[in-house]
């Protein structure tokens, strides 16, 4: 047995060494396919592994709020929910063992140095670790039982204190204008990258005192103020709770009346318990702590991985069967000597597996080199580990077996079929297996169809990404500096002064304030009653100031912008909003500006038709009634968020305070302007760190995921084309060799070099042309579906299809062409002499 295997190994390796081109093409083709497959599978595995590391993950659920399509035109699916919803769940469902509400905060940390913003810091109303059992490296798991205790992560501890040994220290924060001294009672292990959670620290608060000026936090079912998690008792069937939720909504959500308008938060929203492991790839991606992903994307990558691997295996099969004839004599001989068909199949399968093993080693080297780049594109923490949990050694070995057997089986059967009698007389090489030429052509068609499909997808994705960046957003998007944090308590009454000072910074052309900025993720929605229109119209309600029109470069279509000097334009209610102010506003009414979409939604046929019309809106608390609102201006729709999201219908009201963003339009050197604005900021406060971004950077971040996706597709298209070309080259080389005699005869009979060139290239161009017929409908269907996920999209015209087909054709011609020219120019005497 050992001797036989040694014999197989000796013959196999020497046969490969003899056909170096074939060996190189086969191994490299397989290596590329396996490398692409392994890399994508690492990514897919990473995506599917989110929150797997949490203990008890089977019983932990996130409470999500899903809006139906009634409200904003499209459904909105949020990972956040309202505080009353969580309280009512815990009250009515004894299956809820523990629950916790996390309120996001970006408090300012006051310490020895400059004040720092604490991003991803949360305030909780219960012991977070009872629900989400995050690992601690130091301190007490019961720490958050006590109000005033905090936990921070290792890296946050190092960042702010220079050490992880911080248990017992005090962390002073300012939030909502109040100073809190939290006792650090524990250090959390840094969370792994595969989690939907983004937590740099948590602090236990007494919510009633924290929100004492914000009563709506405890009553408003439509105010998704944070993230809610519930741990169910072991053995609970969540489906039972889900089924009971509609009745629960009816029981718990109060009807609200504002004037003649009736509201019930349950009309548009539903609540769902989603297992924590399904949050990352789940339906709800709005209000996520960390950018999630969707199953479709992960599945697409998985399919691409399988396709590229399949292409590499096809190459292997094609080349192996084409070269089978070279081993025909050996096969015949082995049969003569007593080898059975089964033994021959085992021999050639063994060779295939060995070849695949060699290719796998090369593939792993490629993965080592390329994985960091891919991880960067995908913003995923991908590592290559060979052994231990998540180790790749065993899966790689399995891949070798699957690919080796899958690719090697057919050629092994082909070779084992050679009949000795036909081959051994006069030392012939094997005859072509009937139908094998057809099969090879079909396989080439398949490979190029995949490549063409990928090229089309890449072109469309790039086209859409470019469109997203360059399409008219409805306002002047360039040369804006957006500053955050204007709504901090420390700056609540300083807005006007900040605007005045920033206007004087050299280079600043216009300054405005708003609660909806570039790339905003939050929503602030309300309802209006429009005379003559039944029901309520939902619009986004945001605060602006008189400077925003110029600062943002908005386009006025009808009427006017808000005026600083017109008291009816002012809707400032103060902080906190007093009952008197709210009542007064509801009595007198105010002027508002809306956008085109809001005008359409309200039923106005043109922007001009909306001017001077009065509607009534839920601006103040429902008990004070609806506020009469007169439309004084209509602006063009502006795309402030991602192109994946619909343009908001906006109602803009002028206020003196409460704006989150300062919008600064500038010209000249952006860094000088930024420095100037920062200096103004620091003059106004030392307690709120300056946080500003240029509009170009916000846009980049907005489309980062789409950009990355486009680049990934381009990379894999390139790999697919390389694999297809390697196969084509190998086949062309082999076929040209086989046809040497025929070419010699043709040349003797008068064929010229171009005639031979055309004959050889046409043989392989035909499958490539056919491949288009296969690829185009599939690519069209897939891209139509993908483009459907964008609110605004490019039209799917013929250009990407024709371009892809042409590229594939040219690449094929180039691949075969050089070889064809060499063969076509050879002297026919050499070809005929060996006969």
């Amino acid at each position: 047995m050992v001797g036989m295997w040694r014999n197989y190994l000796t013959v196999g390796t020497r046969a490969l060494a003899k056909s170096r081109t074939y060996a190189f093409i086969t191994i490299i083709g397989l290596a590329i396919g396996m490398a692409a497959f392994l890399m994508i599978m690492l990514f897919v595995r990473h995506e599917l592994s989110y929150d797997e590391w949490l203990d008890d993950r089977g019983d932990i659920y996130q409470v999500q709020t899903w809006y139906s399509t009634k409200g904003l035109g499209e459904g909105a699916f949020l990972q956040m929910t309202s505080y009353p919803a969580l309280q009512a769940l815990a009250k009515d469902f004894p299956q809820v063992e523990k629950q916790v509400f996390l309120v996001p905060s970006t408090p300012v940390l006051i310490g020895e140095g400059e004040p720092q913003l604490l991003r991803d810091f949360h305030y909780v109303d219960a012991n977070l670790l009872d629900v989400l059992p995050l690992p601690l490296v130091a301190g007490d798991r019961r720490a958050l039982d006590t109000v005033g205790n905090a936990l921070i992560t290792q890296s946050e501890a190092r960042r702010h204190f220079g050490t992880e040994d911080v248990v017992g220290r005090t962390m002073t924060q300012i939030s909502k204008g109040r100073t809190y001294d939290f006792r650090i009672a524990g250090v959390l292990k840094d969370l792994p990258s595969n989690t939907h959670l983004r937590i740099s620290g948590v602090a236990r608060l007494d919510f009633p005192s924290f929100f004492n000026n914000e009563d709506h936090f405890f009553r408003c079912w439509s105010c998704q103020e944070g993230w809610a998690y519930a741990k169910l008792r072991p053995g609970t069937d969540p489906a039972v709770i889900e089924a009971a939720l509609p009745d629960w909504e009816r029981r718990n959500i109060p009807e609200e009346q504002a004037g003649e308008a009736r509201f019930n938060a349950g009309d548009e929203q539903d609540w769902h318990l989603v297992p924590v492991r399904e949050v990352h790839l789940g339906k709800a991606q709005g209000g996520a702590m960390a950018a999630g992903n969707d199953r479709g994307t992960v599945a697409t990558f998985g399919i691409v991985a399988v396709l590229i691997l399949a292409m590499a295996v096809i190459n292997f099969v094609n080349l192996a069967t084409a070269h089978a004839g070279q081993r025909a004599r050996e096969v015949a001989l082995r049969k003569v000597l007593g080898g059975s068909r089964k033994q021959l199949i085992v021999q050639f399968l063994g060779e295939a597996i060995l070849l695949t093993l060699g290719a796998c080693i090369v593939a792993l080297a490629m993965v080592e080199l390329l994985l960091p780049t891919l991880a960067g594109f995908l913003a995923a923490d991908l590592h290559l580990r060979y052994f231990g949990p998540g180790g790749i050694a065993l899966p790689a070995l399995l891949l070798v077996l699957v690919v080796g057997i899958g690719g090697g089986l057919y050629p092994a059967f082909v070779m084992a079929r050679f009949r000795p009698a036909a081959v051994l007389k006069a030392n012939k090489s094997g005859p072509a297996t009937p139908g094998s030429e057809r099969l090879r052509s079909l396989l080439v068609v398949g490979q190029f169809a995949v490549s063409i499909g990928l090229i089309i997808c890449t072109a469309v994705i790039y086209g859409q990404t470019l469109y997203a960046r360059t399409a008219d957003p409805g306002f002047k998007r360039d040369q804006i500096l957006q500053v955050d944090g204007l709504n901090r308590y420390q700056l609540m009454f300083a807005g006007n002064e900040i605007v005045r000072r920033v206007r004087q910074v050299p280079g600043v052309e216009a300054v405005g304030r708003t609660t909806i900025g570039l790339g905003s993720e939050g929503y602030s929605d309300g309802s209006v009653v429009v005379p003559g229109k039944p029901g309520l119209v939902d619009v986004g309600m945001y605060s602006v100031d008189e400077g925003l029109l110029d600062a943002m470069g908005l386009r006025l279509l009808a009427g006017r912008w808000v005026d600083a000097d017109d008291p009816m334009d002012d809707m400032t209610l103060g902080y906190p909003a007093s009952e008197e102010a709210q009542r007064a506003l509801a009595r007198r009414g105010a002027n508002v500006v809306i956008n085109e979409r809001a005008a359409q939604r309200m039923g106005f046929p043109t922007p001009e038709a909306a001017i001077g019309k009065q509607v009534r809106g839920s601006i103040v608390e429902a008990r004070f009634g609806l506020v009469p609102l007169t439309i004084v201006g209509v602006v063009a729709d502006s795309r402030l968020r991602s192109m994946r999201l619909p343009i908001d219908a906006l109602m803009l009201r002028k206020t003196e305070m409460g704006h989150r963003h300062l919008i600064v339009r500038y010209s000249g050197d952006p860094e000088k302007v930024r420095d100037g604005v920062e200096r103004v900021w620091e003059q106004m406060t030392r307690e709120v760190p300056f946080s500003a971004e240029f509009s170009e950077d916000i846009l980049s971040e907005l489309y980062r995921a789409d950009d990355a996706r486009a680049r990934i597709f381009a990379l894999f298209s390139l790999l697919a084309i390389i694999v297809a070309c390697l196969g084509l080259f190998g086949l062309a080389a082999f076929t040209a060799e086989r046809r040497t005699r025929e070419i010699g005869i043709r040349k003797v009979l008068g064929a010229r070099t171009p005639d031979i060139f055309r004959m050889l290239t046409w043989q392989f161009s035909r499958p490539v042309i056919l491949a288009n017929l296969l690829a185009w409908p599939v690519a069209w269907w897939v891209m139509q579906d993908w483009l459907g996920g964008f609110d605004s999209r490019i039209a799917l015209g013929p250009a990407p299809f024709l371009a892809a087909g042409l590229i594939a054709f040219l690449v094929a011609i180039l691949t075969i062409g050089a070889h064809a020219v060499r063969v076509a120019r050879a002297n026919p005497i050499h070809a005929l002499r060996y006969e």
């Binding site: 001797g3 003569v336 059975s340 007389k425 030392n427």
Partner: protein, 226 residues
């Protein structure tokens, strides 16, 4: 040893039917040395392939060692061939990737012979044919005569009862050809049954019986004087 009755072999394609063997009847006794002669295309090699269980007759009966082999499954034929028949080809048909020693050993690998025994037998047969001094060379490094000696060694190493030689001297010069024929005669004297296809009347004289063929039929058989 073998007995054929009414054996025919017809090759059919879409347009053409070729009768390579037509109603052949032939008996070969154990220990005989039979030469088969005839012009190109008369069916000599086809006959040899059928005798060697490499091909099956289209009709007729073929008894090998008293066993009717027509209609037997390929696995059974392989087994019979492995145990009883050795082949020597005109074009040697050595495996280019293997050394002389490995080429000869290949025949034993299919016989489940232990490694030590294999080595012993290979060395013995290399000495017998006079190729031991080239044991580690590859076929490409040998002359035609040397390659054919390796092929003879390979055919012998499994101690077959029947040796089939298809124009074994066809690619050799006179002196090498003579040497190969002397080896075959020695083997026959040692008890091996040999059926040899040849074009050469001189080489046919080494045989005890000459079978002449034409157009797929046996024209005549003549015994040579001892």
């Amino acid at each position: 040893m073998l007995s054929m009755r009414g054996v025919s072999r017809i090759y059919r394609t879409e347009a053409v039917e070729t009768r390579a063997l037509d109603d052949i009847s032939l008996d070969v006794a154990e220990g005989e040395f039979v030469a088969v002669m005839g012009p190109s295309g008369c069916g000599k090699s086809t006959l040899l392939n059928i005798v060697g269980l490499l091909d099956a007759p289209s009709s007729g009966s073929y008894l090998f060692d008293g066993v009717e082999v027509t209609g037997l499954a390929e696995a059974r034929l392989t087994e019979l061939r492995k145990r009883n028949i050795g082949f020597i080809f005109q074009s040697f048909n050595l495996v280019d990737e293997l050394s002389v020693r490995d080429n000869i050993e290949l025949a034993l690998l299919y016989h489940d012979v232990p490694a030590a025994e294999r080595r012993r037998r290979v060395e013995e047969v290399m000495d017998k044919v006079g190729i031991a001094h080239r044991a580690d060379h590859r076929p490409g490094q040998l002359s035609g005569g040397q390659q054919q000696r390796v092929a003879v060694a390979r055919a012998l190493v499994a101690s077959p009862r029947l040796i089939l030689a298809d124009e074994p001297t066809g690619n050799l010069d006179t002196s090498n050809g003579e040497e190969v024929m002397r080896m075959l005669r020695t083997l026959n004297e040692e008890g091996a049954t040999i059926i040899m296809v040849t074009h050469s009347p001189g080489h046919a004289d080494f045989a005890g019986r000459v079978v002449n063929m034409l157009d797929g039929r046996i024209l005549q058989q003549r015994l040579r004087a001892a």
